[in-house]
């Protein structure tokens, strides 16, 4: 059984990679996947802490996060499709109506 810190390091690495992905990629779906990655990194932290504290609150929280992620996926992907219908593209650079 590995100690807590190893899991936390892995979680931090995954989270950072997710952040970099969100910042560098232009494809909205890929950005979305990177966000999922970040969420999962957080999930790992929750489960690890939960295990080492002997408390299940963290795992229940993970369960809720998954629910949110599912809802987010449904709505988010619907948004992408609507966006694609309008702009014929899925690039965030094309989401520029706010540009002056």
């Amino acid at each position: 059984m590995e100690n807590l810190n190893s899991y936390l390091i892995v979680s931090a690495v995954l989270f950072s990679i997710g952040t970099i992905g969100v910042l560098t990629r232009k494809n909205a779906i890929v950005i979305f996947m990177c966000i999922e990655l970040m969420l999962n990194a957080v999930n790992l932290t929750f489960v690890a802490f939960s295990r080492y504290l002997g408390n299940f609150d963290g795992q229940v929280f993970v369960f809720f996060i998954m629910t949110v992620a599912a809802a987010e996926a449904a709505v988010g992907l619907a948004l992408f499709i609507a966006f694609f219908n309008n702009k014929d593209s899925i690039d965030v650079t094309d989401a520029n109506l706010m540009k002056w």
Binding site: T19, V22, L23, K26, I31, V92, T93, A95, N96, L97, M98, K99, W100
Partner: protein, 664 residues
């Protein structure tokens, strides 16, 4: 009945709302005119009821204040929407609603077929409401609403034919000059309020409360300042020197407007205001003298101008200014009830004169219109011999002219003679009295002269009108002549209400009626009055006879010049060309004002526009805008509008802040 006093201004307001909001839809002139007339007539009935009730009460109980609703209550300051019913305001509402109803009725006939008929009646009703607020207001603020309201209506009605430039200019002139006066009114109000409040902790604008506290006011000093300011307001509204030039120009409005607003009611507001606050005015001997002098000066000054005008309405306008001068003279010599009495009789005969001139213009206009002539329908040189064509108009006009000239037996004689006698015998102005009387008498002579000149040029002599139009001249319809007859009767017999005690036939009802209002003022006045020897009845009879004689001389001169020997005026002009030119051009007062005030103002405005506004104000505004634009040109790169840039800054911010809190 007193409790229903709020109905009096309400009816015209309803009429204004109906005609103003729906008049365009109604279209039918009979209905619009009927509503307007009916509303003011209802007010007249209520006023009659109040008068009847007041007659039944003993003099001490003839004051009643009706609070309609609390208006402004803030700290010390308290002003209600309240109406004051006392003998003075009852006289005023009787005049306003009575003459007002007749003029409304007259307008139905006179304005027939005019574009904007409904607009005219809406304004007229609004005017009546404002005027009634003015005379009924129980505090200075309600009075001020009315004061401003009548100014506004005057502006609207002078500019009724707004497509004519001269009418628009006249309206603006009237409004601006009234503003100068209103400024004085407000300053006076503030001064009085401030002085009473800060020195005696009586914070009030209510007339009755000021009256109760008036014994605290000093003689002269701050009261002089306040009353002079009030008097400035009165000169603006009542067309006295120096603010009188707007009234003759105001004749650009329709004739009923001239009759109602610029002769019978609105222009007397200044006189009424002085009467209402007589207990303050009398406390300043200096102000009283200023009022008397200005009144006398205006009376003679306007009368001289009136002798040389050819426009029938302009003559009447200068006559109005002159008669208002008499009223101020009366106020200035402490003869308040005589002033108010002249106000009333003047309302009768001057309204009748204006309506009569309107009737003449109306018929002239139609006759000239029939033959497509472009002669001026208001120029007396185009008239003459109209008495046969328009007998009713002629008779009522003649009666009113006799009344204004001061021939015994007619209303103007009683009031004017009372004023002249009081200006001679009053105990306030010492040696100035004889001068005031002299000026008043000279003005009376001129009045008789120019009024009969008007009558002779219009109704006598041979007809100078275009021969083709002559056959089209005819008497005006009944709706016009009925008001004329009623007013003519009032002009003839209205004076018996205030017959001098001297004659002993009738008690001076009018003076007794107003006694409770002016009692206190007389009491204050007596503290500095110089009582000379008692003037005998013989002297009074003598002066009365003298003033009648003077009037008859004036009439005689007019008769000689304009009926017997019609070449005389031309010779006179040829002999004194400079004098005639000066009088004909109204002593160049307008030009003087243009030179002194208007042109400097315009130049200053030009400077402010070109120099100050364009360079400095616009420069600052544009400079600020340009600076902001320059900076935003740099900073706008932060706001790219792309989502990922915002995500980037957010992540950066999170990292930096997290790092700061972790590693600090």
């Amino acid at each position: 009945m007193f409790d229903n006093v709020w109905l009096i201004p309400l009816f015209p307001l309803i009429g204004f709302l109906i005609n103003g909001l729906f008049g365009k839809k109604i279209k039918n002139e009979a209905i619009i005119g009927g509503i307007g007339t009916l509303m003011i007539f209802l007010s007249f009935l209520v006023s009659c009821g109040i008068l009847m009730q007041m007659i039944g009460l003993p003099p001490e109980q003839r004051v009643f204040e009706k609070v309609v609703f609390p208006w402004i209550h803030s700290g010390h300051f308290k002003a209600d929407m309240a109406f004051l019913v006392d003998p003075l305001s009852v006289v005023m509402i009787m005049v306003v609603t009575g003459v007002g109803s007749l003029i409304h009725l007259y307008s139905i006939g006179y304005m027939h077929g005019e574009e904007g008929f409904y607009r005219f009646f809406a304004y007229l009703n609004l005017f009546c409401m404002s005027m009634l607020l003015l005379v009924l207001g129980s505090n200075m603020l309600v009075m001020f609403i009315g004061w401003e309201g009548v100014g506004l209506c005057s502006y609207l009605l002078i500019g009724y034919y707004f497509h004519k430039k001269s009418a628009g200019d006249a309206a603006k002139k009237a409004f601006v000059m009234n503003r100068v006066g209103d400024f004085g009114f407000l300053i006076g109000l503030f001064t009085l309020y401030w002085w009473l409040g800060s020195n005696h902790n009586i914070w009030t604008v209510n007339f009755m409360e000021i009256k109760a506290a008036s014994h605290l006011l000093p003689y002269g000093g701050v009261v002089t300042v306040a009353t002079l300011c009030f008097f400035l307001g009165a000169t603006g509204k009542s067309a006295q020197i120096p603010l009188f030039t707007w009234l003759p120009d105001a004749m650009e409005g329709p004739t009923p407007v001239s009759a109602l607003i610029h002769a019978a009611t609105m222009v007397t507001a200044g006189v009424y205001m002085i009467g209402r606050m007589s207990f303050v005015f009398i406390k300043s001997p200096d102000t009283m003298m200023v009022i008397a002098v200005v009144g006398a000066a205006t009376a003679i000054f306007a009368a001289t101008i009136g002798t040389a005008q050819n426009d029938i309405k302009r003559v009447l306008a200068y006559s109005t200014v002159s008669q208002l001068g008499y009223m101020f003279l009366a106020m200035g010599v402490g003869a308040f009830s005589a002033g108010i009495f002249h106000l009333m009789t003047h309302a009768f005969f001057k309204a009748c004169l204006f309506l009569g001139s309107g009737s003449v213009i109306h018929s002239m206009h139609h006759a000239l219109h029939k033959i497509h002539s472009h002669d001026d329908a208001q120029d007396m040189r185009n008239m003459g011999g109209l008495r046969k064509a328009m007998p009713i108009t002629f008779i009522t006009f003649l009666v009113s002219t006799i009344a204004i000239s001061g021939i015994p037996g007619f209303s103007g004689f009683f009031s004017k003679d009372e004023i002249l006698w009081q200006s001679f015998s009053n105990p306030y102005h010492g040696n100035l009295n004889i001068v005031l009387w002299g000026i008043g008498a000279a003005a009376a002579c001129l009045t008789a002269f120019y009024m009969f000149r008007l009558v002779f040029m219009t109704f006598f002599g041979e007809c100078r009108i275009n021969p083709g139009a002559k056959n089209h001249l005819h008497e005006s319809p009944l709706v016009i002549t009925i008001p004329l007859m009623v007013l003519g009767a009032l002009a003839a017999f209205g004076g018996y209400l205030g017959m001098p005690k001297l004659m002993g036939l009738l008690p001076n009802y009018f003076e007794h009626w107003l006694d409770p209002v002016f009692e206190l003022s007389t009491e204050y006045g007596s503290t500095y009055a110089q009582h000379g020897e008692h003037l005998s009845h013989g002297l009074e009879w003598g002066l009365m006879g003298l003033s009648v004689l003077i009037a008859i001389i004036g009439i005689g001169i007019a008769f000689t010049m304009y009926v017997q020997n019609t070449k005389l005026p031309g010779k006179f002009v040829a002999t004194f060309p400079a004098l005639h030119r000066a009088v004909y051009n109204k002593w160049y007062v307008d030009e003087l004002y243009d030179y002194l005030f208007v042109n400097p103002c315009k130049a200053f405005g030009q400077f402010l526009w070109k120099g100050f506004d364009v360079l400095i104000v616009d420069g600052v505004v544009n400079g600020v805008a340009n600076t902001v634009m320059g900076f935003s040109g740099i900073f706008r790169y932060l706001q790219s509008g792309y989502i990922y840039n915002y995500a980037f800054s957010m992540a950066l911010g999170v990292v930096v802040m997290l790092g700061y809190f972790i590693f600090k």
